[in-house]
């Protein structure tokens, strides 16, 4: 039997909500994630105004970011109007449409810095690979919604799911966009681990991975991507080339010391020593100007965001909502972790934006859509 919106785990009616039959907390609208989002975006915009004060191609781009925030707010309102089970119904449609867009990028995409990642929509550029993360989580949540496997997932369940992930990942690798592809794999892995995999299958995968990784390193990675990994392991091998970014970024973060150099006074960023200071390396701008104290506050905000988001998943009373919320949170987690880790030199340099802080319409929109869906799940759990 298929799940329909009318079936509820706990019998209730509309009036039950109004009279507060359940815990006080539940009848109130859950604003947590939206509030944290506004705070993070506010910090991000303020920081972006500093980062894009640098006289180069990025000058004044924070205005565009503000525009995207407006677009995102409208979409958030729209999403809150429908029940999230609606997404369960259109999950595969969204997934395939996104897949088509990814394919279109390879054909008619705009090239920038040697990669084809964008397609033009009117005067704006869209990056379908950003949205793909969300589409994929939606698709996987839908796929495992009715799964009844006992004792963990086996090969039979993993292969179709793996295919759903492998196709977009391959298309994204072709662009090439190693960072996004990696995030997708990390999110997929997280969701599968969460769903639990049979121990023997897990061991088999680990062995295969140990064999396949070195091969993939040689075959699938472009020379510049390989260079990044080598550089990560030892940035001093190439301080003027691939290691340059990593070193400059670390200097930027570290030179912020306890209290930072002050707003718009970060020399590393303002003097153009930092590459991509408004997108992937935005965190180094922030940490240079606001120091350890600023960073700790920012990290605390992300922490609060993580806890609130995971709470939504935890409290979700249906499997689709739980998996969806969990998947979305793993996107946020990996983005935050990989980006900050890269900026601070504990991870190799891969182009991954920091949610709410990095400049980029598609990235911001994806984050906001994610928050909108989470808020939806948080507030509709008893409202069918």
């Amino acid at each position: 039997m298929t799940h329909t919106a009318m079936e509820s785990p706990v019998p209730h009616d509309e009036s039950s909500l109004r009279v507060g039959l359940y815990d006080e907390e539940f009848k109130k609208f859950n604003w947590n994630l939206l509030l944290i989002q506004v705070v993070l975006f506010g910090i991000g915009l303020w920081n972006l105004m500093s980062a894009t004060a640098v006289e180069d191609k990025s000058q004044g781009l924070y205005r565009t970011q503000l525009l995207w925030f407006g677009v995102g707010t409208c979409l958030t309102a729209l999403i809150l109007l429908v029940h999230y089970s609606f997404f369960s119904r259109i999950a595969y449609v969204i997934y395939f449409m996104n897949l088509l867009l990814l394919a279109a990028v390879l054909v008619v995409g705009k090239e920038s810095l040697g990669a084809k990642r964008w397609i033009g929509v009117g005067g704006l550029r869209m990056q379908p690979s950003e949205f793909m993360k969300l589409s994929m989580v939606l698709c996987l949540a839908k796929y495992f919604e009715n799964d009844r496997t006992v004792g963990g997932l086996g090969v039979k369940e993993l292969i179709p799911a793996g295919l759903l992930v492998a196709i977009p990942s391959a298309l994204i690798m072709l662009q090439p966009d190693l960072g996004t592809a990696m995030i997708i794999l990390l999110v997929f892995g997280s969701m599968m681990m969460f769903l639990k995999i049979k121990p023997q299958v897990l061991i088999a995968i680990a062995i295969c991975g140990a064999i396949a990784l070195p091969t993939a390193y040689k075959v699938a990675l472009k020379p510049y991507q390989r260079q990044r990994i080598v550089t990560f392991l030892d940035p001093m091998t190439d301080p003027k080339g691939a290691g340059y970014n990593s070193i400059q970024s670390m200097i930027a973060v570290g030179s912020g010391k306890l209290f930072g150099k002050g707003y718009k006074k970060g020399t590393q960023s303002q003097l153009n020593f930092l590459p991509e200071h408004h997108t992937d390396f935005i965190f180094s701008v922030f940490s240079e100007e606001h120091g350890f104290v600023g960073c700790a506050v920012l990290l605390a905000m992300y922490m609060a965001f993580m806890i609130s988001g995971l709470a939504v998943a935890y409290q979700s009373h249906d499997k689709f909502g739980l998996l969806l919320a969990f998947g979305i949170m793993s996107i946020f987690f990996w983005h935050t972790f990989v980006n900050m880790g890269m900026v601070m030199g504990i991870l190799p340099i891969v182009g991954v934006p920091l949610p709410f802080l990095s400049y980029g319409g598609s990235s911001l929109l994806t984050s906001m859509l994610g928050v909108a869906i989470l808020t939806n799940i948080a507030n509709k759990k008893f409202m069918f």
């Binding site: 079936e7 969460f194 003027k240 030179s255 010391k257 960073c295 739980l322 900050m340």
Partner: protein, 675 residues
């Protein structure tokens, strides 16, 4: 019900959240501890790096390859030039007083008003502020020293050492050496489409060998890391840096050197001999096709181009009546006039319509149809054979030969001998010239060939057009007995360390062994031009250094019959005859072939032959002193006892009249302009 059945599973999932929270805490904890490490523990060190040691990548410009002549005389070198630049991003950081002080100091040192410096900065407002703005180029040594000593009080100011491509001999040989210029956006697309890596601001060869040999001459730029302080002043090179100790820099790889076949002494001799005259000269070694000299006058000094051409100089060059920017040896073609007669002679002899003894009578004019064709000698030459016809440049004789041959046979031999097509020299913009045929005229104008035109073609008029390099190559192939080489300029390519990478070998384009009788008759005639009392170039004779050749004097505009014999020097420059000479030396064992075009220089004998003579003399004396040094010649002439009584015959002007017949004479095809 599926949904209710989920409850247990959801509870199971909720149990797993403790692991999830653990992972998240660990992850964010790692980030936090990294922050502590970088910002708290290493904070002071990192702050110091960012404050004192800002690391910048700086391009190390690679020197372009040098160019030498055949005796390794340096022709093009890279010499340092110093520019004063302001880096706005650092300059802006200074206080208003500091900036004003800087302007004051600079204007004093550079002797330019402070407002000019401000203007330069204002103009650059639209570009990214980390890009240096050039305030003055080519600083003198004193200026450089002064700027360096005041640098500490001038934030954002730097002296940049650039490489200045320098043509050591100024305007000599600038057409063939060419010049470089900043790569233009359109060049950039083209070059980078071919897999090259050029950036805006890079130099690229734009003309001459600099252009054609771009791939060889260009080096690979290197990179180094330098540390700059907060105001952009370079503090330490990376080797002494505290941050990046031991990091290897990428060295610049200089371009490869060219060794040319050119001899600089011949270039100088030719340039000197031209004086104020306008035109071109090509000297070729008939034994290999090596170009020994290639000169086009007037010229320009490429050194003044290498760092950007001042607009005023450029317009001046473009508007000059004598067109200094055009290479008159390959980019312009001219009616060859009488110089072409040997082609008619060879065609006649080889096709068998005449032999060495066939004689025709010249009465000064002949009637074809109802129209008279004149000889340049009013009274006529009397009876002549082919040898004396060449020597005395009799027009009537060649009209007769042409009547027997027809235009297509003349064209056939002209083509065999390399005319009417590009010689294939490795320079851009060579024009092919033109050798007409009946079919060509039909195709070009849709008209039948007319017999009178054949007569004009026989004496190098009508549609016939040749370049100086073609004429030199034509006479070289006569000199060597019928082999046409592809003329070449570059003998060797070697690395900057002197290791030879490539040797260029002579390349034969065409071989038509001419019959010995043909060669003997033609060569005897050519010898006579310079050495016999009746020869047209007897005044250019070099006693003891026999050379052979042919003069030509070509009317450039149609003149009334009475004016044909008028004095050329009294006409306007543009209307004066073109002077031609082509020949080789020594006549018995040719080692050099020369062609000269003197634009509006009036007479082949006086306007072109002396220039060829100067080059020939310089060449023979330099390379064969055992035969031709002044001492040896004096001895030899004395030995020839009785000696030659130098004839004092009046100069015969072998002017080829514009016969008025070819009313359809086309404007020469518009040659390519290099601007």
């Amino acid at each position: 019900m599926a949904f209710l059945g989920q409850e247990e599973q959801i509870r199971e999932f909720q149990d797993r959240f403790k692991y999830i929270y653990t992972v998240v805490f660990i992850g964010l904890g790692m980030l936090l501890s990294r922050m502590v490490y970088l910002q708290v523990l290493k904070g002071d060190e990192m702050r110091q790096y960012s404050e004192e040691n800002r690391i910048k990548k700086v391009k190390i410009a690679s020197p372009r390859g040098m160019i030498f002549d055949r005796n390794r005389t340096l022709l093009i070198d890279n010499r340092p030039a110093f520019d004063l630049e302001i880096v706005p991003q650092y300059f802006k950081l200074a206080t208003a007083e500091e900036r004003a002080e800087t302007f004051k100091l600079l204007s004093k040192i550079l002797r330019m008003p402070a407002s000019d410096i401000q203007d330069v900065l204002n103009k650059a407002r639209m570009q990214p502020s980390f890009l240096p703005v050039k305030v003055k180029t080519d600083l003198s040594r004193d200026e450089v020293a002064e700027v360096e000593s005041w640098k500490i009080s001038m934030p954002g100011i730097q002296v940049e050492q650039e490489i200045k491509r320098t043509n050591i001999f100024g305007d000599v040989a600038s057409h063939l050496l060419g010049y470089i210029g900043e790569v233009s956006p359109s060049d950039l697309l083209q070059l980078n489409a071919k897999g090259q890596k050029y950036k805006l601001g890079d130099s690229v060869g734009k003309y001459g060998l600099e252009q054609r040999m771009e791939d060889v001459l260009r080096g690979q730029d290197g990179e180094k890391l330098v540390e700059v302080d907060a105001f952009g002043r370079i503090k330490l090179e990376h080797g002494r840096s505290r941050v990046f100790q031991g990091a290897a820099e990428k060295a610049a790889v200089p371009g490869k050197n060219l060794i040319l076949s050119i001899d600089q002494d011949l270039q100088m001799a030719a340039t000197q001999a031209f004086g104020d005259k306008v035109g071109g000269l090509v000297a070729i070694d008939p034994r290999s096709g090596e170009i020994l000299a290639m000169v086009s006058r007037p010229s320009f000094d490429p050194t003044s181009f290498s760092r950007g051409i001042p607009a005023q100089l450029w317009t001046q060059l473009l508007n000059n009546e004598h067109r200094p920017l055009r290479d008159k040896t390959i980019q312009d073609h001219y009616s060859p006039g009488s110089v072409f007669k040997i082609v008619t002679a060879i065609a006649g002899l080889e096709e068998g319509v005449i032999d060495a003894n066939t004689k025709f009578h010249c009465a000064g004019k002949m009637q074809v149809g109802n129209r008279p064709y004149h000889c340049h000698k009013k009274g006529g030459h009397g009876d002549l054979n082919v040898t004396s016809a060449i020597t005395e440049s009799c027009d009537i004789f060649f009209y007769r030969v042409a009547q027997k041959l027809g235009v297509d046979k003349i064209a056939k031999w002209a083509t065999y001998l390399g005319l009417g097509r590009r010689t294939g020299i490795s320079l851009a913009r060579e024009v092919p010239g033109l050798i007409p045929t009946e079919a060509w005229k039909k195709k070009r104008f849709g008209q039948e060939w007319n017999g009178g035109e054949t007569l004009s073609v026989a004496i190098g008029q009508s549609y016939v057009l040749t370049t100086a390099i073609q004429l030199a190559n034509l006479y070289a192939s006569i000199a060597n007995g019928g082999t046409v080489y592809r003329p070449f300029l570059v003998r060797e390519i070697e690395t900057y360390e002197g290791q030879v990478l490539k040797n260029f070998k002579p390349e034969i384009v065409e071989t038509h062994r001419l019959r010995p009788e043909t060669l003997a008759a033609v060569k005897q005639g050519l010898w006579g031009v310079v050495n016999s009392p009746h020869g047209t170039a007897i005044l250019s004779r070099l006693p003891g250094m026999d050379f052979a050749g042919k003069t030509g004097t070509v009317q450039v505009i149609r003149l009334a019959a009475d004016k044909i014999y008028g004095k050329c020097e009294n006409m306007k420059w543009r209307e004066r005859h073109n002077a031609m000479f082509a020949g080789y030396a020594p006549s018995n064992d040719p080692k050099i072939a020369v062609a000269v075009i003197g634009e509006h220089a009036c007479h082949g004998a006086s306007g072109a032959a002396p220039i060829a003579k100067a080059v020939i003399k310089t060449y023979l004396q330099k390379y064969y002193p055992e035969l031709y040094s002044d001492k040896v010649i004096a001895a030899r002439l004395k030995g020839e006892a009785a000696g030659l009584k130098l004839p004092k015959a009046p100069v015969q002007d072998d002017i080829t009249p514009d016969d008025g017949n070819d009313t359809t004479l086309p404007e020469p095809p518009a040659p390519n302009r290099e601007d």
